[in-house]
Subunit: 291 residues, 2 copies
């Protein structure tokens, strides 16, 4: 049996086919251009595999996930040019004629991390995955199920208290200015310092300011979901940076509630090279074909 | 069949017995003194009812809810004098010999609100309940289940961005200073203004400042859990106050995600006179006796 994974990102699409052991058999990627071309390329990749059993798509958003909504399977009101109100799942289902699971990019990653934790016999029953990159997003798996309510979470858009050395920065979120995304997404380096994040030395104080905010995101999850693990991925995150996050987290939490050992609680992704979503998609495709 | 409810508060215990329709048959309350006396009074109230089928206890905390923990059923490291590391559930189970459900006070209220919504045929599958009173706490019900992770939520202890007219107030949380509880719990009126909340006129600007913070709590829930309804109870809350909260919420959200109509999304408790927890307890006691 073959399982398909689509990571539908705003910049690129990554398509992969794997087996029941979630091992990648073939993989391709191409830039996200207009919807028709991009979806057609996706279809052509998967059409090569006769025994594709199911597909899972982890997409940039916002997306419609309520199955009783006529726009189920759509990317909805995204600011991304041409993609607003695009039916992503309909054409894939029609052309490939297999069951298709649909979720957000970060939900796919969260599920991949959760499944990997289970494979490694870790005692993880709930897990949050944040990406801190061009934007900030988060998804959660609670007792094996992806967290989903009135819509999908948008965990990057909560507010935090300001670092005393960062009071003058307005924040760059077009909707909320100084929400988490507006304070710690990758482009904030350029907005604060006039240089790209990759060129900011590790000892620069801005890293400490950003760690203070990311630690508050971890506090929010700790107080609301009480997960067993909070995973941070994305271009801004490194082991070095998470070490700073843990220091702030410990100070902010002030031993108010019990949490797992911080080195195991606030972590980099288990799956390397941004592979969490692909693995999550394989597991979700497996689930959807067995339902 | 009779069902028992204990609301174990830091100030008073409220004990009630109800029928399968969750109607209160008899109710009593007494001050929370030392554990032995208070627990004994609780036992004596319920011993009067021969056909008590089960009991549910919604307690102040922190409490231990993990059933495989040797301290399950305990109030753990509370600052409340004499109550630290008190076995609350053990003595009740032993004396009354019925199944006992144990949860937090706000979880009990959240469950009561959820059950009431179902009885009224509201389309509510997830709901958050905050109490804003002496302290701030929150619980959630997701698809009929109380949210519980590595421990129970402590939703009152997340951080928020400061109102520009409130930058000099340090906050009063003994653990976190300016977390939500440290900025909006009842005693903050006295800390900010030197007068009790009940004596602060409705037109005072401090209400607007507090509404700004409570709105951010609602934003956190909206971005993380995406619930169908956020209920606010407790001494600080009034319809007048929630009207202010909705105004700030709308501005802060800035239409970023879809939410239900705000008058139905951010609401006072359905069950009047602080009765949510009693009703929730009856429903939880019913559940635990049928398991």
């Amino acid at each position: 049996m073959l399982l398909g994974s689509v990571e539908a990102g705003g910049t690129k699409f990554v398509c992969a086919v794997g087996n029941e052991d979630y091992r990648i058999m073939e993989k391709t990627q191409f830039p996200t251009t207009d919807p028709a071309t991009t979806i057609q390329k996706t279809i052509e990749f998967f059409q090569k595999f006769d025994d594709l059993a199911a597909l899972s798509v982890a997409s940039f958003g916002p997306i419609e996930l309520k199955k009783n909504n006529p726009n189920y399977g759509y990317i909805t009101d995204t600011p991304k040019s041409q993609w607003s109100h695009t039916d992503l799942i309909g054409p894939l289902k029609k052309a490939l004629n297999v069951p298709v699971y649909f979720t957000t990019d970060v939900n796919g990653s969260a599920f991949g991390e959760y499944v990997t934790a289970q494979l490694f016999n870790e005692k993880i029953s709930s897990l949050v995955y944040y990406t801190v990159g061009t934007g900030v997003g988060g998804g959660a798996v609670l007792n094996g199920k992806i967290l989903q309510g009135f819509g999908h979470p948008e965990m990057g858009h909560t507010f935090v208290k300001r670092h005393p050395d960062d009071l003058d920065f307005a924040g760059i979120c077009p909707f909320h200015k100084d929400c988490l995304e507006g304070l710690v997404s990758g482009p904030t380096f350029d907005a604060r310092l006039g240089i790209a994040g990759k060129d900011v030395p590790h000892e620069h104080h801005v890293w400490d300011i950003m760690a203070y905010y990311v630690a508050q995101a971890a506090i929010q999850q700790t107080m609301i979901l009480r997960p067993d693990n909070i995973v941070f991925g994305g271009g801004v995150i490194s082991e070095d940076f998470l070490a700073k996050v843990r220091v702030h987290f410990k100070q902010l939490l002030n031993d108010y509630v019990t949490v797992p050992d911080l080195d195991k609680y606030i972590t980099m992704p288990r799956v390397k090279e941004n592979g969490s979503a692909t693995l999550g998609n394989f597991a979700l495709a497996y689930k959807v074909q067995s339902e």
